[in-house]
Symmetry: none
DNA sequence: TATGAATGAGTGTTCATTCAT
DNA sequence: TATGAATGAACACTCATTCAT
């Protein structure tokens, strides 16, 4: 298998390092204090690791490459993470948690259930589908069986909460008469399935056949809520 | 990462060794001819490789383990496959092709479109979801980005054909008035999404929360076709 | 290191197999008897092995290639030779012996010593320099330290006899007054050295700078015998 | 082939570790700086590799043995050389270059041409014949055909320059009347041949029949320049 | 705290040798 | 006698981890 160093830049939510505050021209310990510097390094490592893990998978990723991409020495990684495995596990947590936080910070619960779900889908589209985070989801699907702790974490923090939230929305929709099919509440997975498929499709088949995820999700919601009168 | 050799038995479609000719209760199989033996060995390697690749992913799988599981010497693998990569690529072909063949051997095209799709879903449930083949699908999702040839093959042989077949069925359903939502034909992925989600769920989360895939697919079809009067 | 199968044909003194006697169109055991067939196979193996050993050296030569080149199965080699090492050792004997025999079948001892030596040099030029046999000499130089038995054999059969023969000629030349330098008899190597250098040169540097070995040997003999009046 | 690790000590020109600074009788060398240590290690690897390659040839040499002999871990070799092949190629350069430099640092160009050549021969005797460097020459002859880059390098740096230098000396000798045979200038190889033969002889046949290389070279020079009056 | 040279266990691949046919 | 599939020891090369500086 060929190794072509992926050179994609990384505009990451975890990056806390872009600080204009550092006084230029200082060789020893610039402006920020020790703790900040450490946090920056750690963030750089996390970013680099995510890129590499996504590009090659856990086993095929070399710490050398992560270090190079993060701009630190290989040994430095071990000052922040116990080993490669726990780096991967922590990485997933570090990246996933803020996303979940943002997605669950639901918009004002005003309006129809469909509006709520559409808002949610819009966020998901923007934050996940076709982004690094989407790739991370695929990575979790890929490595889950070898990292039960990751699968557990992901199930606990993302899947089960997502399913519960969707179920609550569906039940609300049924109560309000927006959703006809009462059985849907038993399988919120059905509501989420096209979004997941979109995530995977973008990773694997986008270059064979592009997919208009937004439009697909709209069609799906039409199916569930009945066609919209106007847009 | 700990390495516990997964010892799952393997009831495989690729196994050609179930010879009815062998006297039952015989320990030493009398051997048959050279070509047959070679085919058996190759099948054993394919089966073993599939188990190992599914359990560990491509990079973390050791040829030593495949050989041990297949009951052959390591060198023997190289009599059948050029190297680890091409073994993986051929493996996918070898396992996928007959499944596709079987799934596309559509049941008697009589009855309603819903009956057709239900028959198809039933096959998929039996042949893929929760089986080794399902795990293979997850494996392809996992390794696809690193094996463009595999992703290409899978798209060409499975995805595009599956999408096309589903679209044809959907259009038929629309024509016959069984399906109301005309836009569905533009996104057959929606029809398939829950089945794919079921495949992944069984691999990753079954132990956290079992999923009645059959029931879920029924609910999904009810959503698309309208609730069934009787079952 | 790349492996380009050397495809040079092999017009070898050891080949005894080119027999027009075999009745065409016979599948089982053609004309010649069993022993002859075996001898042919053995000769084919020896020829093929020589080519391969010369092209790659002992360690880098694969028995597979020898077998392929000889047109026999790999196992067949083991019917003729105990193992790779002893094949190499026997090979050297098999190829060297007839050459020595031919070279030592000295031409009629008439004429001057210089004539004798020139005749000898002519043979050497024709039979060794720039030929497969020359390459074999280089091979012996190359593998000698790892094959003491080969070095021993070569010293015993070729070097010591060659040196002795040269010394005898030199002494005759001194006696007859053809050679002035009496000390030359103590170092017959000096007489042979340019011929050896020519052998090596053709193997290694011919493509950088071609060497007219014949002319060089003449100049060398002029040095020893004094310039010739006419040619 | 039996594998007996040759344990010959190695007084090498490449060894840079003989540090006069180290307190005598000290077991643990105090280390000095990083760069020095790296250079020492590299030199140790080069020395060890030369020993092993000379003893076994390229293909039969194991990197494990080189590492063991050099007192480093196997991986360390790869910090200094890309792979086995390039190690061999660099090795030849590293060892040959300083020898050439020393040999071409000609002695005071005073005196007769014969004196010059004798000085040169003396150096060659001391520096090459019967030394590790001589063995290396034999190794180059052995592996040249499989390492064109080595053969090229050797031709360019050693052979062609040596031939040119010898030709210049011969022509000077002819001009001054020291050398009678005018054709010799066309084949400087003749002048060098006995020295090369001596190199090979010491490697292969010394134990069968010792050769007094110094005396042989003197006889050869007598042949070319005419016998010396006194020594 | 940060470095990166050094380590050595681990793995894909090769190939001499065997042996059932 | 001849075959060539099968074997498994051997080896080049990699890379996670350590540790002296």
């Amino acid at each position: 298998m060929t190794r072509k160093p992926t050179q994609t830049a990384l505009p990451s939510a975890t990056r806390a390092s872009a600080k204009g505050a550092a006084p230029a021209g200082n060789v020893e310990v610039p402006a920020s204090n020790r703790a900040t510097r450490a946090a920056e390094r750690r963030a750089a490592i996390v970013d680099a690791a995510m890129e590499e893990f996504i590009a090659r998978g856990f086993a095929a990723t070399r710490l050398d490459d992560i270090a190079k991409r993060a701009g630190v020495a290989k040994g430095t990684i071990y000052l922040h993470f116990r080993d490669k495995e726990s780096m991967f596990e922590e990485l997933v947590r570090i990246v996933i948690v803020p996303v979940v936080a943002r997605l669950t910070a639901l918009p004002p619960p005003a309006g129809s259930v469909r509006d709520l779900i559409e808002a949610f889908a819009g966020n998901f589209l923007k934050e996940v589908i076709g982004t690094r985070r989407g790739d991370l989801v695929r990575l979790i699907v890929a490595e889950g069986p070898r990292f039960p702790s990751v699968a557990d974490f992901y199930y606990r923090e993302v899947v089960s909460r997502g399913i519960a939230a969707m179920r609550a929305l569906i039940e609300l929709g049924i109560t309000r008469g927006e959703i006809r099919d009462k059985e849907l509440a038993r399988y919120p997975q059905i509501l989420v399935a096209p979004a997941m498929i979109a995530v995977i499709w973008q990773s694997l088949f986008a270059r064979h056949a592009p997919l208009d995820a937004q439009d697909m999700l709209r069609v799906h919601l039409d199916l569930i809520f009945g066609e919209r009168r106007t847009t």
